[in-house]
């Protein structure tokens, strides 16, 4: 069978393997497609190419043609077209593929080049791997294993440079370890648009530094730590806390806004030590806001709620409240709950014949990875049918109904009602059943308090601003005295006279698939790592608050058409 011609594909030969790659791909990326690793430091797929580390040197050649006739010159020994190999190595990152390009990544010349580059890089490297936080995930360590000499021919004194310069509130620089790859400089300039970093001085005196009078303090500064191939830039928060090889990695979702950046949560023995980005080219590329990396501190916060009674006793008390005022119940769900919790909240509201609403939380979007809507899952509530319209920041309707005496019981899930505009007097007038992880004015005023889990202690799904449903997994076990939100909600639904629903996430998804048409074909287990985009057309008329962010453009025409 002859494959149809694809004009944008270029066939190249890497270590004898033919592969067709899109035009404009560089040799490192093309080699990655045939599982050939080209070591590199300065090249980063999401940043511009500078080619200053020289680690990705490869040998390349082009098919030979007769200069006069342009006829291919054949090699009689092999019967194939002769390859004119360039006698010097070329950098793989700065070389884009061209038709017929031949590349060798394992030839003696390439090995010599890599060993030479490694030896020069290690001349002034302090080799303090036992101290360095990057040890275990350090590219220099990895390549030294493959191309290092094992001993040093350098007998002179090594450079001694400052080892703990504070570049900003969250980033510490160790100058000795820096290999001058300039990834951090390019990131600050190209992605964070805060061009504060640069090199000063020459040769072995070269030093990374901030522009005088400025600091690396933008909300994306910790991405420079992630992309630093060595241990030069380290996170001040994570510094010397834990070695990376002890940490368990759990895939999760950033819940600070509706962007839903993909993350990895690193934990050991039930304690989370850091959060780093997970590459998703449709959502966050390889970046993550600094503000998303401190969210784990909520797990061990001092104001965590802990139960003094069993969940069954609490459910019985809540059920008594529900029955004391039939028809006068209200539910306040949360845009920070998972899809599963919102689905159960909808069932609870139906069982109580109560209205359900959300509280919106709007901030300033930064056009990158923090959107204006600080609720990560408003769209999940729309998809599951918990709400029909977008939430308001203040619960004015609920306040009016409480003042009118129409509402006697309020179920608040993860939402502080005083922050949503209810007064202490209004809270005192109703019986509040509160579900939440942390103490606040509402939990203090509540008659029944269910201590529940933070997002790091449970699995679930979130629907981000692109209507992409993504899953987050449980990283650490539940805190003592806290119960899974799903267990509490399922028991409350049953106590309120609703259907018996499973609290187990896999079983619950079977129910969700039957009841929510948009999620009919899904299960929790088969949801892909990069998420799944749902059909947004039923909600196209809603005036969502998000502005433009990375990989997201608000659907302005639809809103304009709806308002016109």
């Amino acid at each position: 069978m002859i494959a149809p011609a694809q004009p944008d594909l270029v066939t190249v030969n890497i270590d004898g393997q033919e592969i067709a790659v899109p035009k404009g791909t560089n040799v490192i990326e093309a080699a990655r497609l045939v599982n050939v690793d080209v070591p590199h430091y300065c090249y980063h797929p999401k940043l511009s190419v500078v080619g200053n580390c020289r680690m990705c040197l490869i040998e390349m050649g082009m098919p030979a043609v007769d200069p006069a006739t342009k006829a291919p010159i054949m090699d009689p020994a092999t019967g194939k077209q002769k390859i004119n190999w360039i006698p010097r190595p070329q950098i793989g990152c700065g070389t884009n593929v061209s038709p017929g390009l031949h590349v060798k990544t394992t030839s003696p010349m390439v090995k010599d080049a890599r060993e030479g580059v490694m030896e020069f890089l290690l001349i002034n490297h302090p080799l303090d791997c036992p101290i360095c936080d990057q040890a275990g995930e350090c590219k220099l360590q990895e390549q030294a294993t493959g191309y290092g000499r094992g001993y040093s021919r350098f007998v002179e004194q090594k450079n001694v440079k400052p080892k703990r310069t504070q570049l900003g509130p969250r980033v510490t620089l160790d100058d000795e370890r820096c290999i001058l790859c300039s990834r951090c400089i390019r990131f600050s300039k190209e992605i964070a648009k805060d061009d504060v970093l640069g090199f000063v001085d020459r040769g072995s005196y070269s030093t990374l530094t901030c522009y005088p009078g400025k600091k690396l303090e933008n909300n994306y500064s910790l991405n420079t730590v992630d992309i630093c191939p060595v241990g030069a830039l380290t996170s001040t928060d994570f510094r010397f806390k834990m070695r990376v090889w002890f940490l368990k990695q759990t895939n999760a979702i950033d819940t600070e806004s509706s962007v839903g950046a993909n993350t990895v949560v690193w934990s050991r023995e039930g304690t989370i030590y850091r959060i780093t980005p997970r590459r998703n080219d449709e959502v966050n590329d390889t970046w993550l806001a600094d503000s998303a990396r401190v969210l784990y501190k909520a797990v061990k916060a001092a104001d965590r709620l802990a139960a003094t009674e069993t969940t069954e006793a609490l459910v019985a008390r809540a059920a008594a409240r529900f029955q004391s005022a039939p028809g006068a119940n209200a539910g306040v769900g949360s845009g920070r709950s998972t899809v599963e919790e919102q689905f159960l909240t909808r069932h609870l509201a139906t069982a109580l014949k109560a209205s359900a609403q959300l509280v919106s939380r709007v901030g300033q979007g930064d056009k990158l990875l923090v959107s204006a809507d600080r609720n990560p899952n408003v769209r999940g509530a729309l998809v599951t049918g918990l709400i029909k319209t977008l939430p308001a920041p203040q619960l004015t309707d609920l306040a009016a109904q409480i003042d009118a005496g129409k509402i006697k019981v309020v179920v608040a899930i993860n939402e502080d009602l005083t922050a949503a505009g209810l007064t202490a007097a209004q809270l005192a007038n109703v019986s509040i059943v509160y579900l939440g992880a942390h103490a606040n004015a509402t939990s203090a005023a509540a008659k029944v308090v269910f201590p529940t889990l933070t997002v790091f202690e449970k699995s679930g799904t979130f629907v981000n601003q692109q209507f992409r449903i993504q899953k987050t997994l449980k990283a650490v076990p539940a805190a003592a005295g806290a119960t899974d939100d799903l267990v509490v909600l399922a028991q409350l639904v049953a106590a309120a006279g609703g259907a018996a629903l499973p609290a187990d996430i896999a079983a619950l998804w079977k129910v969700i698939a039957t009841e929510v048409p948009a999620l009919a074909t899904m299960t929790f287990a088969n949801l892909p790592e990069t998420g799944l985009v749902l059909d947004a057309t039923p909600f196209a008329a809603l005036p969502f608050v998000e502005g433009e962010t990375l990989h997201y453009k608000p659907a302005q025409p639809a809103v304009a058409a709806a308002t016109a």
Binding site: K158, N159, F246
Partner: protein, 180 residues
Amino acid sequence: MAVITVERKPLTFLERTYLPQIAGGLKTTFKHLIAPKKTLEYPEQRPAIPVGYRGVPTLVKDPNGREKCVSCQLCEFVCPPKAIRITAGEIPADQADRAHVEKGPQAFDIDMLRCIYCGLCQEVCPEEAIFLQNQFSMSGYTRAEMVNHKDRLYELGGTLPDAHHKWDKKKAAEEHGNAH
């Protein structure tokens, strides 16, 4: 299955009297009665410890009295019974003789009820800071007593000669002043 009957030789007259055997046994008894003593009056007398003996793991200091451990936690990682527990800490920049080291153990606990004296911690240590030395008897009345904390580990370890003088070299390089 074939059964092989083994012919048992009948005892000779002398063997039937048992006297040669009794005499042989008494010879051994009397030999040891007059031979020099082999047992030691433990604990007053202690045995000579052979080279390479693996006793209680200890932390050692370098000849300048500085702690060598930089809390890289490789011993914690390699320890098969998970007897070692380290909490890392930062060495403040104002400690003149250790400012370059940056990192040291805040807490270093070895649970001797778990330790199997395998010596992997000593083998893996990149700073030559942990050694299984000659101390072989550990006793205590409670489980807590059997956990050696950092102070106790340094007390047991003492100071060992150092072949590398890593931090002295670092200081010399700094004073040499290649970079400003």
